[in-house]
Symmetry: C2
Amino acid sequence: MSVTAAKGFTAAGIAAGIKESGSPDLALVVNNGPRLAAAGVFTANRVKAAPVLWSQQVLKGGQVAAVVLNSGGANACTGPQGFQDTHATAEKAAEVLGVNAAEVAVASTGLIGVRLPMDRLLPGIEKAAADLSPYGGEKAAIAIKTTDTVHKTAVAEGAGWTVGGMAKGAGMLAPGLATMLVVLTTDADLDAPALDAALRDATRTTFDRVDSDGCMSTNDTVLLLASGASGVTPDADAFAEAVRTVCDDLARQLIGDAEGATKDIRIEVTGAATEDDAVEVGRSIARNNLLKCAIHGEDPNWGRVLSAIGTTSAAFEPDRLDVAINGVWVCRDGAAGEDRDLVDMRYREVRITVDLHAGPESAVIWANDLTADYVHENSAYSS
Amino acid sequence: MSVTAAKGFTAAGIAAGIKESGSPDLALVVNNGPRLAAAGVFTANRVKAAPVLWSQQVLKGGQVAAVVLNSGGANACTGPQGFQDTHATAEKAAEVLGVNAAEVAVASTGLIGVRLPMDRLLPGIEKAAADLSPYGGEKAAIAIKTTDTVHKTAVAEGAGWTVGGMAKGAGMLAPGLATMLVVLTTDADLDAPALDAALRDATRTTFDRVDSDGCMSTNDTVLLLASGASGVTPDADAFAEAVRTVCDDLARQLIGDAEGATKDIRIEVTGAATEDDAVEVGRSIARNNLLKCAIHGEDPNWGRVLSAIGTTSAAFEPDRLDVAINGVWVCRDGAAGEDRDLVDMRYREVRITVDLHAGPESAVIWANDLTADYVHENSAYSS
């Protein structure tokens, strides 16, 4: 399903030879209309990859005819030449597809600081264009994988319309956004501002609240393309809910496939004075390496949760903090509560619940444990 | 050496049975005067251990007659009972030593959330008092070890006066302060405000700039005690320099003994608009797990340095950033610079230099690599 679940889209995923391994590394997603409406959100990192800088410009026009995505190289920190490479990529796709280059978004993922092999990438676009199909969504999702062990797709159905999408991401996953490339498509008949509103609302509480390893990428890109091919203009709330559902599904898949992880940690902060407080506390917990190690060791070490909360500026009193791990309130009023031996941590999902007792707001952040496999995978990535 | 290098101090380190292992776990440092002047700095964590809350009160008086330190338990997140335990510890030491309990500082380190075995700790104070000696500094330093592989002491000599100290700390090391207990002593004849000024100046650029694993403790305590026994009142600058030298020496020893670490990473940020900018950038780099893994793998992955810089609010332009690793400028103007194969990373110390090209300020942050051993050590700590 993926990006071709919605009517009006074709896609392809091929091996262009960008990856030395010969694995698929180039994806093409084409909006065949009648509409070409689009919205996008991008990394909050101030060091932005060339394709991010390019695609931000493209999205200002509110129209995207096609997206070229490659794995095997991030084209980040590659200077003016890197930007020219992205430009040439869009020009090539525009020429092959007969569209406007200013309506071709580009997304790249892989090692930072290395230029892309354009002598392979540009012919790859021709090859991918020849392979475009209304059934190409899975192949496209496979072609954008880097250290992902599985490809990631999701679909939500509305009344006569569909939202589908694909994602890649397994490391450098932290808010604003998680490190990932995501393309969502819909055949709903909506204009760019409507898409933008739905997309920002959805990413704020899904991809922006995934914090696998505290590291923010230079390349994060989430695009939402609408073809209008269903002829249906959905209710704004129903559409927003569908986009959120797909984003949430993909975000969970990112966490579930994070590098080296053995646990998915759901951190719910309740009783916060503000939603920002809840998010700040959740992120601080999500990024605490000692806690992440403890969770890996199936150790319900609530003291490390408290020490992480204590580094935030959120409203709370230390002697009123409650913490539950997998439903057992191991910390009450800032001190030992129920018996920690009651906590069963054998399963992949671990739920940490914090009650700040400072207000009515809450937020959920997803994180992963820290493992020796994460260290191994990331100490040998570029060599 | 250690805390008994300066005249006017006695110390002891004994096994009170707080640790199940039977290793030394209780230290006593006594100021025999004629002065009892003291200053202290404590963790910035809002979740503070009972001994921190107690000692902060003691230090407000500017006088410390004795310090009781224990390993084997942090007495953090232990509620009102934990505070009573600290109070009882100070009372017991006061009784045994014939001093005022309001002038007895207490410091604890170990697992969070568990009460101390007072039936062992209190008799231990009597035992330690009986063992007090002007040569007891090394034993005291040994008794405060937790996961430290070596005990840590340092000394600086002035003109007729001495500053000496001991430290413990190997994990949960992050700014404001690093997780550690430190006691410094001097026989210089100085009052509490003079000590406070020298101590704050020293910790700001030493312990506060150590960031081993991004985790801030609930128990950090750094005390500076002056006996006045030398009869010499040193020049303020000379004294400040001596305190800074001892703090810097101990801070480096903490980094050199960090849990599981194989590399000490010196991150120097230059060309910053403000010192705060330099520190923010340095800390962001110090806490980037992907970079820490890369350094462990001896991979000069400057892209991860840039992606960490990009998450800060410091003044810089992405296309003007320069990064050197061990003296090789692998990144120039935000893109690839000198050949990364020229970087020799075989040694324990790795130097990362960043030039923000945004001003004249700079700062140095020390960090460690992230290793499988760190994960192993911290996933089985409390079990």
